[in-house]
Symmetry: C2
Subunit: 152 residues, 2 copies
DNA sequence: CTTTTTAGTTAAGTAGACTGAACTATATAC
DNA sequence: GTATATAGTTCAGTCTACTTAACTAAAAAG
């Protein structure tokens, strides 16, 4: 963080607007579903990263295995999650989103997208093309950055 | 949500990557400060929108006035917030971030930016220019969209 | 085959976020 | 001026998240 470039200034302005909006949106949506934020976050994680074990949940959210187990139990009871035995290790459990869970998350994501779609409608065709290009560049770069970090 | 365009596809890919990252980052940072997520969110709100009254907090987070009052009390005790009497209405309070509160939020934002800055470094000069243009377009569009919604 | 990890659950207890109800004090309406 | 609405606080009680500790069962190590 020596001297912010023009570019990172622009990034920051965008991040401020976008982060504030999306965080507000998510917490509002989570509340409307009746789920707590921690519960909801677990569903989000499963949606993003796919099935995983109980211990992965604990690590991801930095809570004890006991806490993870209890949160997951509630989500299973509510029908959002399925908890099966891992065939390769009978101690472990495999957590997957149920159809109901998937539906819920998709709906939340749709609502988040809607704002972006509204944004699109205000742009000229030319500006749409420009921004699409740019975001593709950024998305790819983000992917590569993540992969690089993962391999360390 | 009829037929997603190429553009909104690209937006979505970006949103997925970006939202997941930033949410994870924020909750991790909030935890590291010792503040709960609701407490932290209040500081964020103050930072984003500037000083406001107690009732505005309740409305913004959809909690009772009692809950807002209690959360704010904790933040005042911890020195992150200042709660003064509103000179124009002696019933009302004016909540503002203290220097300590401001410092905290700024630090969190810096950490969030860092990822973006890393991202920048992986791009060519040409790509940097392209994305800067695009994000400026998007940021302005977002501002205008918000203003339009506010005036309804 | 025994010992030790590892994966997860259960239980008891702590702490924070929240609500409704009762209250104070000020502003607004009539 | 009285009545009413508004801004905020305090209190008692509830619910959820979380922790540690004690447990079961299966895998891995010796």
């Amino acid at each position: 963080m020596t001297k912010p470039t023009q570019f990172s200034q622009t990034l920051r302005a965008w991040m401020d607007a976008f982060m504030h909006r999306s965080m507000r949106g998510w917490s509002h949506f989570a509340k409307s579903t009746g789920l707590s934020m921690p519960q909801f976050s677990i569903l989000m994680q499963l949606h993003h990263k796919g099935p995983c074990g109980m211990s992965a949940i604990g690590e991801r959210f930095d809570i004890s295995a006991a806490a993870a187990s209890q949160l997951v139990e509630k989500l299973v009871q509510a029908g959002y999650l399925e908890r099966a035995e891992d065939p390769t290790d009978r101690r472990a459990k495999l957590l997957t989103l149920s159809a109901k869970g998937n539906e819920l998350i998709k709906q939340g994501i749709e609502e988040r997208y809607r704002w972006m779609d509204d944004l699109v409608l205000t742009l000229s065709a030319e500006d749409q093309r420009k921004t699409a290009d740019a975001l593709e560049i950024l998305t790819k770069a983000a992917q590569q950055l993540d992969e690089k970090k993962q391999s360390l």
